[in-house]
């Protein structure tokens, strides 16, 4: 007890203890090198956990959620997100992989492993007696050198050449580490097509809001398809309505097909039979009026955010107006955006110019189960696309959705910025070699930290080699040596065991942007962790 409390207690000149922190005995505190060491250990434990998921030969993880649902994935960001991490520093790493996911969408595993490796070499430096801030500064300078070198040696690709061949290859590189790898070519083609459909080539931008990835368990991965339009998980409100509407003029309504419900409180009292009859007639009129309004606007299909009364539903059917009800707000907006429709809150405001246009709206069914979906194709305004993912079961569909998201991101990044660096650990090794070269000219103490950074970069190719069943140190040394002797070579770890190390030949590359982002994010997080020298936490409840 004494040793534990000794840290927190201060004594005045008479030897009486006084309280520095309220209820200090209930708090745990670590400070100084001890704190850094503890933090680094925690962060390294997390990065070790992801280490085996790196690369095409990486393994998957099973994650069992609080409610017992099973997720199988090797996507770094997903693993981190679902892992129920409690440790505060480990949480920083979770956020690290998430921000890589939001920004770039790929390389979420790599960034965490890199951060782990950096922390490991930082620990060695701290043990030598270097001040944490000097270590941070050194890392940052090394990072700047690495980024500059990568930018200088990156290669500009004509991504649209040869029928988008290069984009497809990049998507394949991204997909080959996933469970869907036996269908990687098909999925890559779908991803490329989807992105190109919505891409604004001139501005080099891709609006991801126009790409939706919908999953539906059943069928097999081969049935995954790209739909040039919007898919909503609903069916027609009346089973006998037309299932296909060509040249659709879509009325989008946010008012229910029901008698109006004023928001102010009111009471309508009926005191005689005459009123009763009038009220009934009035009610019937409402429905007829509603349908008339819709019909007069020239629309031939209705999409509504709310429900329908039975009578209204039948009247819609009788007037040959197929309708979809209970469509969610987000989907309504998407449809309105894509078809150029205005969202109409009142029947009386419907008019023909407020309708959206689409070439075809149809209902599709699946398998022996009674599942139906509505597909809106050929929208007037934008080229919204939907990728409909099918797969053996929910787990596969979810994982395939995540994989497709990654692939879409990769393709987008290449369209935005077509400079690339080579994968398989090649870019990291090149950066590492460059830093080592520069470091020899460095007079300050930071050179130690910069060397540490260079060592840490090698860890990526080590991990890749380890996961592919190769001898990590032997492989990395050999690769480094090859590239040192001939700087034009782009050698990386041969993960698939094809006997070729030339990444140019294997077409393994990533966008420069993604790699640079990885280096910078990892360096920043490491700086943040190293700067912590005192941790207070409530100790365990007892």
């Amino acid at each position: 007890m004494a040793s534990a409390q000794g840290q927190f207690l201060a004594f005045d000149e008479f030897g009486r203890p006084f309280i520095v922190i309220r209820e200090q005995e209930k708090r745990a505190r670590v400070k100084g090198l001890e704190a850094q060491r503890a933090n680094i250990n925690a962060a390294r434990a997390v990065s070790n956990l992801l280490r085996t998921s790196l690369g095409p030969k990486g393994m998957d993880k099973i994650l069992v959620s609080q409610d017992g649902d099973v997720t199988i994935t090797n996507d770094g960001a997903t693993i981190m997100e679902k892992m129920d991490v409690k440790h505060q520093v480990a949480k920083l790493l979770v956020e690290l992989s998430q921000s890589q996911d939001n920004e770039i969408g790929d390389g979420t595993t790599g960034v965490v492993i890199l951060a782990g490796a950096l922390l490991e070499s930082a620990l060695n430096l701290l043990d030598k007696g270097l001040h944490p801030l000097r270590v941070c500064d050194g890392f940052e300078r090394a990072c700047a050198i690495a980024v500059k070198h990568l930018e200088a040696t990156s290669q500009e690709l004509d991504v649209f050449a040869n029928n988008n061949e290069l984009l497809k290859k990049a998507a394949v590189t991204c997909l080959c580490s996933k469970v869907v790898s036996n269908r990687q070519n098909e999925l890559a083609a779908i991803a490329v097509e989807a992105v190109l459909d919505v891409a604004d080539i001139k501005r080099k931008d891709v609006n991801f809001e126009h790409i939706k990835v919908e999953g539906k368990p059943g069928g097999s991965l081969e049935d995954t398809c790209l739909i040039r339009g919007i898919v909503i998980d609903k069916d027609m409100s009346h089973p006998q309505m037309a299932k296909v509407v060509k040249d659709a003029k879509i009325a989008i309504l946010t008012c229910p097909f029901e008698p109006p419900k004023p928001k102010t409180k009111h009471k309508l009292e009926i005191s005689n039979a005459e009123d009763y009859r009038k009220l009934y007639e009035q009610e019937q009129q409402y429905f007829v009026k509603m349908i008339e309004d819709v019909k007069n606007s020239g629309s031939n299909i209705v999409i509504c955010q709310w429900g329908f009364d039975d009578e209204a539903n039948y009247l819609l059917h009788a007037n040959k107006l197929p309708a979809v009800r209970w469509v969610g707000g987000v989907e309504i907006e998407l449809i309105a955006m894509a078809t150029g429709a205005r969202i109409v809150p009142r029947f009386s405001e419907l008019s023909s110019e407020k309708l959206g246009r689409a070439a075809c709206v149809r209902e599709i069914g699946f398998g022996t189960t009674d599942d139906k979906m509505i597909v809106i194709e050929g929208c007037a305004n934008t080229s919204a696309v939907t990728v409909l993912v099918r797969g053996g079961n929910k787990m596969i569909v979810d994982e395939a959705k995540r994989c497709l998201h990654d692939a879409l991101c990769v393709v987008r990044n290449l369209i935005r910025d077509s400079r690339i660096v080579y994968g398989g650990g090649c870019a990291e090794l090149m950066a590492s070699l460059e830093i080592t070269k520069v470091v020899d000219m460095e007079p300050s103490i930071e050179q130690y930290a910069m060397r540490g950074f260079a060592d840490a970069l090698e860890d990526i190719s080590n991990a890749l080699a380890e996961n592919s069943g190769l001898n990590p140190i032997e492989t990395t040394t050999w690769l480094k040596n090859e590239m040192k002797n001939d700087p034009s070579k782009r050698y990386g770890v041969d993960c698939n065991g094809v006997g070729i190390n030339d990444m140019k030949e294997l077409n393994v590359y990533e966008s420069l942007q993604s790699k640079v982002q990885q280096l910078q994010l990892a360096t920043q997080v490491v700086r943040m962790i190293l700067k912590i020298d005192d941790v207070f936490a409530p100790s365990e409840y007892s």
Partner: protein, 540 residues
């Protein structure tokens, strides 16, 4: 150190910081793989004994002590669905079997058992220090080869209707032979084939309705002509009509509440009450008049019909059927070619449906309504009879499997020989492939072949025959070029599958092969299991 920096000591004495929440668990590498193997194999072993014509049944009892209901079944999907498992790998296996059920409807046990056998082989390979990724590579080669062989074994009798019907009968026979219905096999074969052929190529199983009525025996089950609705005709209505015009409606026929929001009836004297009541009746009467102006002589409503409108209609000689639920109404409208009406302002007889006769029939002790000679002749109803409700449930499941298989066969047209022929042929193909592959992958390909051969082995074992002898004989026969050899499970010897008429649907086999290897691969790829702390439940 204390508090947040507490951690566990590992074997080397290093402190592992506590990163996950208190009760979360994390197992890695060998431990994780071991636990998923054990879980998956345990589940596979559980259903193993139900495989094949001599497979045994299982009794499933609910975990809830208040629930006395039990289920007796040998349907893989049903058994697995009702298991409560904690092991994630076992959950995957259950999931894959469920998907097989949704997709093709049969072969659910085969999938689970085959995936289990694959993992058993993988366990051996991993003990020999072969990396899971290499095993997966080998498996992928093997699956492609096996699929190729499987497709080459299949043939179709598409052009010859009689031969195709024979194929269908054989395929159903094979499916049913492992089920409860085996005692009345011939009867159910013709029942299933007839009802499916009546669909005329449609794959909508909803058009075949299965009604279970306890009593009688299985032999009394029959295929009804037309459509049977398990509802009663209102008292006082006529009980049979020839060539009726039928209105199918979904409208409230009770007091028809006022839908305008916030309205309320307030009266100050008894006379006024009477007036309102009269107005209410008047309103209903007008509605009935409107309905009658369409000229129906049968009125079917999804919702309840109150006595007053009912009596009005009955007076006019209309047969009234109330409270046919959503499914009933939708099916009826499809079968009779009627619109489902909710307003009645534009009299138009074309919205009404029709059929040959409509009459009340009695099945067992219950009344039902039968619609005969429907416009849409594709619908049919199978009435199952049997001694107990357990028997009927199991019979329904078996019939469902049989119908699914038939629909798949009609869609795909291709059939293959059963009795283990296809499995052994596939395993011979992968064995041959293994010899041409250099490197460790070939071990995985060989293992795949062994797992394939396990299927006929298990079937033979379940029949109490000498499985090693039979399977090796079969293997030799197939290897020597026999296209029809298989295990005759009645006699326990090799037989000619063509003569015995044991055929299976290609699509089912193919799907089973693919799903099982997909599931096994998924489990094998895992090297870490992170289990979150279970959500704290309150109120218990």
């Amino acid at each position: 150190m204390s508090g947040a920096y507490q951690g566990k000591l590992d074997a080397a004495g290093n402190v592992n910081p506590q990163i996950l929440s208190e009760e979360a668990e994390d197992s890695r590498g060998e431990m994780a793989r071991m636990s998923s193997f054990v879980g998956a194999i345990a589940v596979a072993d559980l259903v193993k004994t139900t495989l094949g014509p001599k497979g045994m049944d299982k009794i499933l009892k609910s975990a809830d002590p208040n629930e006395q209901k039990i289920t007796v079944t040998n349907d893989g999907a049903t058994i697995l669905k009702s298991l409560f498992v904690d092991n994630p790998a076992a959950k995957i296996l259950i999931d894959i079997s469920k998907t097989q059920d949704d997709e093709v409807g049969d072969g659910t046990t085969t999938v689970a058992v085959f995936a289990g056998e694959l993992l058993r082989e993988a366990e051996q390979l991993i003990l020999q220090k072969i990396h899971p990724q290499i095993i997966i590579q080998g498996w992928r080669l093997a699956v492609a080869e096996a699929r190729k062989t499987l497709l080459s074994l299949a043939w179709d009798n598409n052009t010859d209707d009689d031969a195709f019907r024979k194929d269908l009968e054989n395929v159903v026979g094979t499916t049913l032979s492992s089920k409860l219905l085996v005692q009345e096999k011939e009867h159910f074969i013709s029942l299933a084939v007839d009802s499916v052929l009546r669909l005329k190529g449609s794959d909508d199983l909803k058009l075949i309705q299965v009604i279970k009525k306890a009593g009688g025996n299985l032999k009394d089950s029959f295929l009804a002509d037309g459509f049977i609705l398990e509802k009663k005709i209102s008292n006082g209505s006529v009980h049979s009509i020839q060539n009726p015009s039928i209105m199918v409606a979904n409208s409230s026929m009770d007091y028809d509440k006022i839908k305008i929001f916030g309205s309320k009836v307030k009266v100050d004297s008894i006379e006024k009450v009477a007036e309102i009541e009269a107005a209410e009746r008047e309103k209903m009467r007008r509605k009935v008049d409107k309905i009658l102006s369409y000229g129906p002589n049968v009125f079917i409503n999804r919702q309840l019909i109150y006595d007053y409108p009912e009596s009005l209609m009955v007076e006019k000689g209309v047969m009234v059927i109330e409270h046919a639920d959503f499914d009933g109404v939708e099916r009826l409208s499809a079968v009779l070619g009627a619109d489902i009406l909710s307003t009645f302002d534009n009299p138009d007889p074309s919205k009404l449906g029709s059929c040959g006769t409509i009459e009340e029939i009695i099945i067992g002790e219950d009344k039902a309504i039968s619609f005969k000679n429907c416009q849409e002749g594709r619908a049919s109803t199978i009435v199952l009879r049997g001694a107990s409700s357990h028997l009927l449930d199991e019979a329904e499941r078996s019939l469902h499997d049989a119908l699914c298989v038939l629909i798949q066969t009609i869609k795909n047209k291709k059939v293959i020989f059963g009795g283990g022929h296809s499995e052994v042929a596939m395993s011979n193909a992968t064995d041959a492939l293994a010899k041409t592959i250099p490197g460790k992958k070939s071990l995985a390909v060989e293992a795949f072949g062994r797992a394939l051969r396990k299927l006929p082995t298990i079937i033979a074992d379940n029949g109490g025959f000498d499985s090693s002898e039979l399977v090796s004989e079969l293997r030799a026969a197939v290897n020597n070029g026999s296209k029809t050899a298989g295990i005759d499970m009645n006699k326990g010897v090799l037989g000619d599958m063509r003569e015995l008429g044991i055929k299976e649907c290609l699509r089912v086999k193919e799907q089973a092969l693919l799903s099982a290897s997909e599931a096994a691969e998924m489990i094998l790829r895992v090297d870490e299991i992170v289990t979150c702390a279970p959500r704290k439940r309150e109120g218990y």
